[in-house]
């Protein structure tokens, strides 16, 4: 039985798109007779004791999946920190061969290719620490999911679920991600103009709720003209 470790890279404690994507893939892998474990990176590296548990989990897993949001064109700080920790740890530990590493990166822009640099960093990380690179999935428009179960989102996420189903098949059979899985994940969830409309409406609504609608584009650090 293969063991799979899902690492959630979102700093949010709940309702993250990373968690929704990761959970769906975990369910698919469980159904394919894999043993699964999930760790949220931010709390998992917050104390010495937890870091030990975290690093031990990365040693034991046959497959490590990082599900993370894109923060400013790359991975969020806690994920970068965790990668540095894993790299340091693996310099001094006996490393197993054949551990697979893959990533699912989602961004708040409608185009999936914004995630390319983050995926390149993941690929580089895998190579440097001795994991087998299984591939990277890039999703655009991630704000349309925010913590909802993919099973409940229906038609909008059909390409995502197809992609993750194919990914589960590939991983369960010891393969790397297929081109088809990568392509399906990168397909837009909706036309970009609709995403923009909904996204901006959502930000404006939240600003209204916090009574700062008129301040949405304030420049508080403008110290000089």
């Amino acid at each position: 039985m293969k063991s799979l470790l899902l690492l959630i890279g979102s700093p949010k404690p709940s309702d993250s798109t990373s968690e929704s994507l990761g959970n769906y893939l975990i369910q698919q892998m469980s159904a394919r007779n894999c043993e699964t474990k999930t760790l949220f990176i931010r709390p998992a590296i917050s104390t010495d004791e937890r870091r030990e548990v975290f690093l031990s989990a990365t040693d034991k897993a046959d497959i490590i999946i990082l599900a993370s949001p894109l923060y400013v064109d790359s991975l969020p700080y806690p994920v970068t920190k965790a990668m540095e920790m894993i790299a340091r740890h693996r310099q001094t530990s006996e490393n197993r061969n054949g551990q697979q590493f893959l990533c699912i990166v989602n961004c708040g822009f409608p185009e999936a290719h914004h995630n390319d640099t983050a995926i390149a960093i993941c690929r580089k990380f895998a190579g440097e620490v001795g994991f087998e690179w299984a591939g990277g999935l890039a999703l655009g428009g991630g704000e349309a999911i925010i913590g909802k179960s993919l099973d409940k989102l229906g038609f909008m996420v059909r390409n995502i679920t197809k992609s993750l189903d194919l990914t589960a098949d590939d991983l369960a059979n010891g393969k790397v991600l297929s081109h088809q899985a990568v392509t399906l994940m990168a397909k837009p969830l909706m036309p970009a103009w609709i995403y923009k409309l909904i996204g901006e409406f959502s930000f404006k609504r939240q600003a209204k709720k916090h009574q700062v609608y008129k301040n949405l584009e304030d420049c508080p650090y403008q110290w000089k003209s």
Binding site: D73, Y77, F203
Partner: protein, 191 residues
């Protein structure tokens, strides 16, 4: 003209401090002022991804720490230098922590640049963005990823000009000086 250096060195990393000294000297030679933030020495909380700086306190992160000072210094500089050990092609965690906190300087609303969506400008002007990555041994792939990352950051932070350079930690001082001089003497920087 004023430059801000965000130094993402790890503790006990003497190479990056030597590079920072060269950056100061080169900026001095073109009559620029410089201010540096040694990121591992100051308190910056990790971005929580709650968009508080967009929808609760627009333009300012809700976490009151040195991350706020860095955002202010960044937007009021003429040029910001991101100095970092190249880490899997990207920035060090220390630098990434500070960069993540800079999203408050753009608007939550969208605009199109080069046919793709980005966040709209919040301010009327943004600094030039320079990335300087320090690497222990030659690694073309890491260098390419680093340069791509800096150029993507420059688009998202609306930099009027960006450039990056990879420095080998064992390079002679003269070579490092020449590389940094070339970055700062570009016509887009001197304008």
């Amino acid at each position: 003209m004023k430059a801000v250096i965000l130094n993402g060195s790890n503790k006990d990393d003497s190479v990056l401090f030597n590079v920072q000294k060269i950056i100061y000297d080169e900026l001095g030679s073109i009559k620029w002022e410089a201010e540096s933030f040694i990121l591992h020495e100051i308190k910056i909380a990790a971005c929580q991804g709650d968009f508080g700086c967009w929808v609760k306190t627009p333009g300012v992160c809700i976490m009151k720490d040195d991350g706020q000072d860095i955002a202010g210094a960044f937007i009021n500089s003429d040029m910001t230098v991101l100095l970092s050990p190249v880490t899997f092609g990207g920035y060090s965690a220390e630098l990434k922590k500070a960069v993540d906190r800079l999203i408050c300087i753009v608007s939550p609303l969208f605009t199109k640049i080069g046919g793709e969506f980005h966040h709209r400008k919040r301010y009327s002007r943004y600094p030039i963005l320079i990335g300087i990555g320090v690497i222990e041994k030659a690694d073309e792939e890491s260098g390419e990823i680093f340069k791509k990352l800096v150029s993507r950051n420059a688009i998202n932070f609306h930099a009027p000009h960006s450039a990056s350079e990879i420095i080998m930690s064992n390079e002679d001082t003269e070579i490092i000086q020449a590389k940094i001089r070339k970055l700062f003497r570009a016509k887009e920087v001197r304008q």
